[in-house]
């Protein structure tokens, strides 16, 4: 079954149409989406850099993970509200956009990875996780979230 009718419905539902017609709504929502990107970027980098032995490497990984967690969750929530709003205004364009599907795939994988494998590693006791495993987790996390970012930026160019 094709998802196209669903996407068409999203685009023609009230919110999507209101955002599309308005001069200011899309840019403002997109601006908030971009601010969310800065915070989520900082929250993820702080921990992934630490796992790679960079940045705040004298702090325990678990402490940094706990400290940055509210900002990770908070900014992700902002992204998951503003993102679908942006999507609803141009759902059909997204349906035909490779960048959009690339981003959604990366996003699903990034969220699952972050809250399963990565979370278990970051919250584990120091010493129980080998340096090599920590590094691999950080690199996978950075690759997945970078995919989300690049894919997102490229939706605008497609």
């Amino acid at each position: 079954m094709s998802l196209l009718p669903l996407f068409e419905w999203c685009e023609n539902a009230g919110i999507g149409e209101a955002i599309r017609i308005s001069t200011w709504l899309f840019p403002v929502i997109e601006g908030i989406h971009l601010l969310g990107l800065c915070v989520i970027g900082g929250a993820i980098l702080l921990v992934d850099m630490r796992l790679l032995g960079l940045g705040l490497r004298r702090q325990p990984v678990a402490e940094l993970a706990r400290d940055s967690r509210p900002f990770l969750i908070g900014s992700l929530a902002v992204m998951l509200v503003t993102g679908p709003l942006l999507f609803s205004s141009e759902a059909v364009k997204c349906y035909y956009s490779t960048a959009f599907w690339f981003k959604m795939t990366s996003l699903a994988l990034a969220i699952i990875f972050t809250f399963t494998v990565r979370q278990r590693v970051t919250l584990a006791d120091e010493g129980r996780i080998s340096a090599i495993r920590a590094r691999i987790v950080a690199l996978v996390s950075l690759a997945l979230w970078s995919g989300v970012g690049w894919g997102g930026r490229w939706i605008g160019f497609s």
């Binding site: 990107l37 705040l56 702090q59």
Partner: protein
């Protein structure tokens, strides 16, 4: 030579045209995504000053370990930003959002200067304080506000609402530095 004439001269240089027609989207993506490194980490530092994250980490440790990455990110931001300007000089020069962004960037720079030459010199006195002294919290707050506005105005440069080729109010015409010839373009 006026600023506008200089930008018109820039726009006619071969490299400007090549950038505009070539890797513009790629450079813009680098500019946007480097925000995560530059601003993401700067925001974490500001939030530490405000005492809302990494409360048990000494402020000097956060500065020492994160600010080099922020500086590196900033270098990428400046280079990519300058290339984006060089690719579209006249329109950027006459954009009220670009102008607002430049003013706020200068203010953000002054804020960094005031912080590092002022309260941060005595960081050893308050390194472990969960909530930093007033002057440091002020610096963090001013930084966060300015960067929110800088990101938003940067994003808005892409929109043509206030471009000089459209009829604009006297205020916008003045702020954007539009000249009579712009309307016919």
């Amino acid at each position: 030579m006026s600023g506008l004439e200089f930008c018109q001269w820039l726009a006619d240089t071969p490299w400007s045209i090549a950038l505009h027609e070539g890797p513009y989207a790629l450079i813009e993506s680098v500019h946007v995504l480097t925000l995560c490194i530059f601003l993401g980490l700067a925001v974490m530092f500001d939030l530490r000053l405000l005492g809302v994250t990494m409360r048990r980490v000494p402020v000097s440790e956060v500065a020492h370990r994160l600010l080099p990455w922020t500086v590196a990110g900033f270098v990428v931001m400046v280079i990519s930003g300058a290339l984006l300007f060089y690719a579209i000089p006249v329109r950027s020069y006459q954009s009220i959002f670009f102008r607002a962004k430049v003013v706020m960037l200068v203010l953000a720079g002054l804020n960094v200067l005031v912080f590092h030459s002022g309260i941060y010199r005595r960081v050893s006195d308050w390194d472990l304080a969960v909530v930093a002294p007033r002057a440091a919290r002020m610096a963090g707050t001013v930084s966060l506000i300015l960067w929110v506005l800088i990101v938003l105005s940067g994003r808005m440069i892409a929109y043509n609402w206030f471009d000089c080729y459209k009829p604009q109010s006297a205020l916008v015409t003045w702020l954007a530095g539009c000249v009579p010839g712009d309307l016919v373009k």
